[in-house]
Amino acid sequence: MSTVIHYKCPNCGADMAFDTKSGMLLCGSCGRTDSIEQMAGKDKPSGGDYSYQMDDEDKQAADSGFNQDYSDPSQEDEPSNHSTFGENDAVEYHCNNCGAVVITDAQTTSTTCSFCGAGVILGDRLSGSLAPARVIPFTINKEQAQEAFRKWCKKGRLTPNNFMTADRIKNITGIYVPFWLYDLNGRGELDATCTKVRTYTVGDWIYTETKYYHVYRKADLNYSRIPCDASKKMEDGMMDKLEPYEYVNLKDFEMPYLAGYIAEKYDFNDDEMLPRIKQRATSYVDSYIQSTIGAYSTVNVNNKDIYIRKLKAEYTLLPIWMVCYDYNKSEHIFAMNGQTGKVVGKPPLSVAKIIAWLSGISVGSFALMRILTLLLGGGLQ
C-alpha cells in the first residue's frame, strides 16, 4: 500500500500548502483558503488516536510515606499502546501530479515532488502506529525565518563581519521533526543532616555553636510535555536548546498541516527515548528538592532516592527551520524554532573579534583594579 496525498485547490486544481499566517491551507494560484478540519476530513488517516488509560488494578500503595502518600502509588511506567513500526523502505511513491517517483528517505513522511514541486504527503507513513497525536504548526514562514536568521547573525558578538551579512543562506527547509512529549511523575525522598552555625563572643572567648538537624523531604512532582527528539538525524543537544515551545498552539494532528513542508517519522519509539528523558527529569526533581531545604549552613545528604515514572508519551511533530549556510567553503547548520524563532547552532568565530573583546575586557578590569588600588590607600608609589 502506498498512499500519496495531495491537497488540490477545489477552485483551480493547483497545489495547496499550509499558510502560517491564517493557519489554513492556502492555494498559491487563486488565493483560496480552506480550514484544516475541512480538508482533513477528506483524507483522514486510519487509526491515530491513542490514549493511555491507567489500569486501576495496578494502583497499589507501594510506598508507605510518613504522613501523606503519592497521589498515584503505581511504580511502573505506563505502557505504550503502539507497536514499533515495520520498515517499508522499499515502497515506491509516485507523484499524483506528474507521475514521477517521489524520492524520499525511509523516514520522510512529507516532502515536495522534486519534479513538479507539489507538496506530497505519504499517508501510510503517518497512520497506525506512526500516526502523530499532536502537532505544533509553523507560525514562522520561510520569509520570516530568513529575516529572523539574518537578525540573529547580526547579533553575534564574536561572529566575523562578513558572516553577519547572512547573504549566503544555501537553503532553508521547514521540517516537522518527530518528538515525544512525555508526561512524567517524579518522586523524590531526601534525607540529610544539616547544621546551623552561629558564632558569638563572650569575654575573651569566641564561641561556635553548631546545631544539628535531621532534614527529610518527600516530593511528588508532575511534569507535562517534556519534549524529547525522536529523530536520529537531529542532534539532541541542539534540539534541547530550541525549547521551549508554547503549548497553547499544540493541535491535534491533521495531515494538511504538513502540506508544503518536510516531515519525518520517528526513529526511536517512546520506550527507547525514556532513559534519556528520565535522566533529565531526575535532575529536575533533584533541584526542586534541594531548593526546599532552606537556610542551613551546611547540608550533608545521607540518602537520596529519586524515581521517575512515565505517565504518557505523545508522538508530536514540532516545527523547525533548518538553515544551511555556506561560509569559508564549509557548511554551517543552524536550527530555528519554527514557533518562537529561537536560533541555535555554532556560528563561525572571528579571531580578530575574540582578541578585541579579550583585550577590551582585560584592559577594562585592569583599569578598575588600579583605580581601587589607588583609592584603597595604596597611594604612595
Binding site: E209, D220, K241, P347, G360, L374
Partner: protein
Amino acid sequence: MIKLMNKKTITTLIILSALLIALFIPVSPALAAETPKADTTTATSYQSDQHVYDDGGLLSENEKLTLEQMCLDQGKEAGIDIILLTIDEPNVKNAETLVEDFQDKLPVADRVCALIDMNTREINVQAYGKKAEAYINPSRAQKLADLMTPIVKEGKYYNAFSILIDKSAEYMKSKPQNIITNIWLQLLVSVLIGGIVVGVMAFNSGGKVTTSANTYMNPNNSGLIGRRDDYLHTHVTRVRKPQNNGGSGVSAGGRSHSTGSSNF
C-alpha cells in the same frame, strides 16, 4: 552595519586604554610633592635632639652613644626619625598610650618609636607620619616587635634596638607589597577575567538552554508531601580571641600610627 560594529569595539578599546593611562599621570606627581616636605622641614629641625630615652636604665652609657649615632645616621639615610624608649616603672599607663603621649610632644615627622617596658614586659613599636605609616604598616610593625622579643628575653637590649634600627631603615626602602595590589597579579587576573568572559560568550554563541526545572512542572499537582526538620543536638566549641597586636591607632593628640607589640 559592519563598520558600525567595528567602530564600536575599537572605541571601547581606546576609551578603556586611555582611562588606564590617565590613572597614573595626575596621581604620582601629587604624591611625590607631598612626602619630601614632611621629611625636610620638620624632621631636620628635630635632628639635633635626643633619640634614646633610657628611663628604664637598660643601656650602658657607651651603648646609648652608639645607638644615638646609629639612629642619627640610619634615620637620616632612610628619611625617618628613630626614637628608642625604655621604662621600668610600676603603675604607669599601658605601653601603647605611653608611646602615643610621648609622640604628641614631638614635632610631626615620619618616625618609628620603639619602647621596652620592663614593668609590663612588653615591646611596643609604632610608626608615625604618612610615609612611615605606609612603609612600616601594622604587619611590619608587628614583625619588628616580634624580631626584638627573643633578644630582649635574653637581656640583650642593645642588640634588640640595633636590629630594630637596621630593620626599620631597611623597611623604609621598599613599600610593603600587598598581594591584592600587586600590579602583575592584577594584570594576570584581568586577562583571566577577559578569557572567562570571552570563553562564555563563545560557548553561548550557539544558543543556550533556556528551560529550567520549573518549565514543565505542573504547579497544581506538584509539591512536597513530606517535610521534617528535626533538631538533633547542639555542639559548642570555643577558642580564645586571637590577641590583636598589630594594628592602627590614633594618639590622644590625634596622630594616627601603626602599632606592633609583643610580650617577652
